[in-house]
Amino acid sequence: MSTPTDNLTRRRLLMALPLAGAGVAGFAFWKMLSGMEHGSFNPHDINAPVLDRPVPDFPLTPLPPTEGFTAQDLQRTSKPVLVNFFASWCIPCLAEMPTLMTLQGKLDIWGIAYKDKPENTASFLRHSGNPFTRLGDDHTGRAGMEWGISGVPETFLVGPGGVIRWHTATPLTEETINRVLLPLAHRLQTP
C-alpha cells in the first residue's frame, strides 16, 4: 500500500528525472568540449585519412629563401616535424601565427602555403613573423589534396620515419601545444 507521503516522494523523484537527464547530457558535453580544446576529442576526425600512415607523395614548389621539402625529406628526418598548412587569405591562420612563433626552437615547423600567391605569402610572413624552417608553395592545392586537408589552417605532426602521428583542423592553441603536442613530440623523439 502506498501512503500519500510515498506518493509525493515518488512524484518528486519522477519530476527530478528531467534534471538528472539534462545533468548527464551537460556533463558529457562538457567532457567533449574540454576534449576538443586540448585535442583528445575531435568529432571531425573522420576527415583525417592520412593519420597513422606514411606521408603521401606531394608536389611542392620551394619558396626562397628557405628550401622546400618533399615526402622523402620527411621520411629521412630523425626528429618529429610539424607540418602546417596556411594561407595569407585566412584570418584564423593569422591568429595562429603568434602561437606557432612560440614553438620556435622546441619543434621544427615546415610550412605549406596553400592556394596563395608567393608575394602574398612573403608579405604575410613579413608582418606576422616566420616560424617556418622550411617553406613550400602549394599554389594549385595539389599537395593539400594529397594530404587530405579540409581547409586551412591544418596541422600534422610527422614522426621520425615519416609517419603522420597527429592532426588537427583547428588553429593551434597554447593549451593544445602544452598538453598534447609537445608531450607527444617528446615521446616520438625518445622511443
Binding site: 519530476m15 551537460g26 562538457w30 568529432p43 576526425d45 573522420i46
Partner: protein, 661 residues
C-alpha cells in the same frame, strides 16, 4: 552617427537593462509591490530599443563597407550586392547572436505591449524571466563574440561571404527560424513564472497558447525554408539530409507541436498541467541546445559556423544555468502542483495525450540519432555516423499512427467519447484513403511510401470531413452551410487547415521517395531520356556576373516531341573565395519538378563533354506548400478571438471600460 562604438555601447546598455528587467520585477512580484512590477514593461521596451540601435549600427557598418570592423572584414566585400551586405549581418556567428538577442528583446517587448490583460504579477514574472535569459545571451555576445570588434590596420577590402549564402532564400531563413526558436522563450517564461507562483490553471493555458502557436508558425516556416534552400541551392536533389543542424531545428518543432496541443487540454480541461509546463521548458531548452551544438563544433555538419570550443564552454555554462535552473525549479515545484480534470482514455484529451506520446517518441528517436555519434565517440572512442536509413526506419513507423489518429482526434468530444459514431462520420475519408492505398500500390514502390500516401489522403479527407460535419454541408441548404462556416471559430478552421497541410506535406514526401535521377557525361547536342521526358543539351556558354563568372547550359526538355521548357542550369565561380556553386534550374508545374544541374566540363576545348545531373521529382513543391499551409492554419487559429491574450478578461469588464481600450 551610427558608429560601431555606439552599437557596442547600446548592446552593453541593453545587457544592463535586461539584468534590471530580470531582477526588479521578480522582487516586486514576490513582495506584491505594484510600483516595482510596473517597471517591467518599460524596461523590456527600453531593452528592445537599445538592441535595435545596436543591430542597426552593425547593419550600417556593413552597408557602408566599414572594414575596420572585424566581423564585416571577414564576411563582407565591396563587390557584394547591397541586399547581401544587409543580410550578411546575420550570416555569421557574431551577427546571428546579436539578431538572436534582438528577437528575444522583441519577444519581451511584445509581452509588455500585448500582455496588458495578464495578471500583473504573472506579467512581471514572465518579463523578468525573459530579461534573465536575455542577460545571459547579451553577456555572451559582449564577452566572447563581440560583433563590433575592430581590426587594425583595416583591410582595403573584405573577404567576402560564402557564395552559398548569397541567396535570397537563405538571406531570410535565419530571421524566421530564429523567431521560431526564440519565440518559444515566451512559453518558457510563462512556465517558469507559473512554477514560481506555484499555480497552473486554465487561464494560464489560454495565455500561453497564442505565444506557442506564433512561435510554432515561424519555426514551421523556417524549417520549410531551410529545406527548400538546400533543395534548390545545394543541387543534390535532396530536401532533408538528417544533418545535425536540420535535426536541431526538427527536435524543438516536434516538442513545440506537442506543446501547442497539450496546452489545449490545460485550457479546456485543466489536465496535463505539469506535462505542459515540462514541454514548454523542454521546447525552449532544445532550441537553445540546438544553437549550442551547432556552434560548438561537437556535431559534424555541412553548416559552417566558426567552431570555437572556448565559445562552446560559455554557451554550455549559459545553458547549464538556464536549463538546469529551470529543471531544478521544476523538480522542486512541480510535485506540489495539483492534478486537474479526469478523462476517459477514449476522448479528445485521450487523443491529445496520444499525440503527445507519439510526438515525443519521434523527438526521442531524432535526438538519439543525432547525439549517438558524438556520445559513441566520447564513451567508446569509435567514430560512426547515423544517417537516412536509421531515421527512415525509425521515424516512419512512429509517424504513421500519428497520422491515423490525427484524422479523428479533432472530432472526438471532450471527457468521454465513443469511437464508433466518430468513425461512422469518417466513412468517406476511409474510402478515400482505401482508394489512395489501392492507387498507390500500382504507382508507388515500397511499403512505407504506399502507407504514407494513404495516410496523407486520410488526413486531408478527415480534416475536410470535420469542417463539412460542423457546417452540415449537403445535409442542409448550401446557404445555411456557408452561414455556419462563417460562424465557426477560426481555431477550428485553423486546426483543419493545419492538419490538411500535414497531409499535403506527407503526400509530397511519399511521392518524392519515387524521384528518379540520372547522371550523364555528354557532348553538346545529346538527348537523354528520363521519366518520359527527352532532355537535350543544346549549348553551354560563359556568362559574366557581378562578382562571379558563370558557365550556363541551355537544356531543352520535351515530352513526346512537344517542347515543355528550356532550362538554364549554370555553375558559378566566385572570384573572391576560390569557390564554385551550382545554380540549379527547376521547372515546376506544381505536380512535379524537372530539376537540372550542370556539373564539370571534361575533354578538350574542341570537343568538350559536360556532366549533367537530371532529376524528376514528383510532388516536390507540395512538401513546402504543406508546411506553409500548416503555418497558415496556425496563424488563422491565432486570429481567433478566443485566442487573443486579453479577450476573456475584456469580456468580463463593463462596456464603459472596453470602449476606452
Amino acid at each position: 552617427m551610427l558608429s560601431p562604438e555606439l552599437g557596442h555601447y547600446a548592446l552593453a546598455l541593453a545587457c544592463v537593462l535586461a539584468a534590471v528587467q530580470g531582477i526588479i520585477p521578480l522582487i516586486g512580484a514576490s513582495r506584491r509591490d505594484v510600483r516595482l512590477m510596473a517597471l517591467a514593461p518599460g524596461l523590456a521596451i527600453g531593452q528592445m530599443i537599445a538592441l535595435g540601435v545596436s543591430f542597426l549600427s552593425l547593419v550600417y557598418a556593413a552597408v557602408t563597407d566599414d572594414f575596420s570592423v572585424q566581423n564585416i572584414a571577414e564576411n563582407s566585400a565591396v563587390s557584394k550586392p547591397l541586399l547581401y551586405k544587409i543580410t550578411g549581418v546575420w550570416g555569421n556567428h557574431e551577427g546571428s547572436i546579436l539578431l538572436w538577442a534582438l528577437i528575444l528583446g522583441l519577444c519581451g517587448a511584445a509581452v509588455a505591449a500585448f500582455g496588458r490583460n495578464l495578471p500583473s504579477a504573472l506579467r512581471a514574472r514572465v518579463i523578468a524571466v525573459l530579461g534573465l535569459v536575455a542577460t545571459g545571451f547579451e553577456l555572451f555576445c559582449l564577452t566572447t563574440s563581440d560583433p563590433f570588434a575592430r581590426v587594425w590596420p583595416a583591410p582595403m577590402d573584405g573577404q567576402g561571404m560564402n557564395p552559398l549564402l548569397q541567396d535570397p532564400g537563405l538571406a531570410f531563413h535565419p530571421p524566421i527560424l530564429y523567431t521560431g526558436y526564440v519565440g518559444f522563450a515566451v512559453p518558457f517564461a510563462f512556465a517558469i513564472a507559473a512554477l514560481i507562483e506555484g499555480r497552473v490553471d486554465a487561464a494560464w493555458g489560454r495565455w500561453v497558447r497564442p505565444w506557442a502557436v506564433a512561435a510554432w508558425c515561424f519555426l514551421t516556416c523556417g524549417i520549410a525554408m531551410g529545406s527548400w534552400w538546400s533543395y534548390y541551392v545545394l543541387g543534390w536533389g535532396g530536401y532533408w539530409f538528417w544533418d545535425p543542424v536540420e535535426n536541431a531545428s526538427l527536435i524543438p518543432w516536434l516538442t513545440g507541436t506537442a506543446l501547442i496541443h497539450s496546452a489545449i487540454v490545460v485550457e479546456k480541461r485543466e489536465a496535463l498541467k505539469i506535462w505542459t509546463v515540462l514541454l514548454a521548458i523542454g521546447t525552449f531548452s532544445f532550441s537553445l541546445s540546438g544553437t549550442f551544438l551547432v556552434r560548438s563544433g561537437i556535431l559534424n555538419s555541412v553548416h559552417a559556423f566558426a567552431n570555437d570550443p572556448a565559445r562552446g564552454v560559455f554557451i554550455l555554462g549559459l545553458l547549464g544555468v538556464v536549463i538546469g535552473g529551470s529543471l531544478a525549479l521544476f523538480a522542486y515545484r512541480a510535485p506540489t502542483l495539483t492534478a486537474g480534470g479526469l478523462f476517459a482514455p477514449v476522448s479528445r484529451e485521450g487523443a491529445l495525450v496520444l499525440n503527445n506520446i507519439l510526438l515525443c517518441s519521434l523527438c526521442a528517436v531524432v535526438l538519439t540519432g543525432t547525439m549517438y555519434p558524438p556520445f559513441m565517440s566520447l564513451l567508446f572512442d569509435r567514430t560512426i555516423s547515423v544517417g537516412k536509413p536509421f531515421f527512415d526506419a525509425t521515424t516512419i513507423p512512429l509517424a504513421l499512427p500519428l497520422f491515423i489518429f490525427m484524422g479523428f482526434g479533432p472530432m472526438l468530444p471532450w471527457k468521454r467519447a465513443q469511437l464508433w459514431p466518430v468513425l461512422q462520420k469518417l466513412w468517406l475519408a476511409a474510402i478515400v484513403a482505401a482508394v489512395a492505398c489501392a492507387v498507390a500500390v500500382f504507382t508507388l514502390s515500397g511499403v512505407l511510401p504506399i502507407l504514407c500516401a494513404a495516410a496523407a489522403l486520410w488526413i486531408i479527407a478527415a480534416s475536410l470531413t470535420d469542417i463539412a460535419e460542423r457546417t452540415r454541408l449537403f445535409r442542409t441548404s448550401f446557404a445555411t452551410s456557408i452561414q455556419r462556416a462563417r460562424m465557426l471559430p477560426r481555431a477550428i478552421v485553423g486546426t483543419a487547415i493545419a492538419h490538411a497541410g500535414v497531409g499535403i506535406t506527407v503526400l509530397g514526401l511519399a511521392a518524392m521517395s519515387q524521384a528518379q535521377h540520372k547522371i550523364v557525361e555528354v557532348p553538346i547536342g545529346t538527348t537523354e531520356q528520363l521519366a518520359g521526358y527527352e532532355w537535350t543539351l543544346k549549348a553551354v556558354e560563359d556568362e559574366p556576373g557581378p562578382n562571379y563568372t558563370a558557365m550556363a547550359a541551355t537544356l531543352e526538355v520535351r515530352r513526346h516531341g512537344r517542347l515543355i521548357t528550356v532550362m538554364h542550369p549554370s555553375k558559378r565561380s566566385f572570384n573572391s573565395q576560390n569557390q564554385t556553386t551550382t545554380d540549379v534550374a527547376i521547372h515546376t508545374n506544381l505536380l512535379a519538378d524537372l530539376y537540372g544541374v550542370l556539373g564539370d566540363k571534361h575533354g578538350s576545348d574542341s570537343s568538350p563533354t559536360y556532366v549533367l545531373r537530371l532529376h524528376y521529382n514528383p510532388l516536390a513543391p507540395w512538401m513546402w506548400l504543406g508546411a506553409l499551409i500548416m503555418a497558415f492554419g496556425g496563424a488563422l487559429s491565432l486570429s481567433d478571438r478566443r485566442m487573443r491574450v486579453g479577450a476573456p478578461q475584456r469580456a468580463r469588464t463593463s462596456p464603459a471600460t472596453t470602449s476606452v481600450s
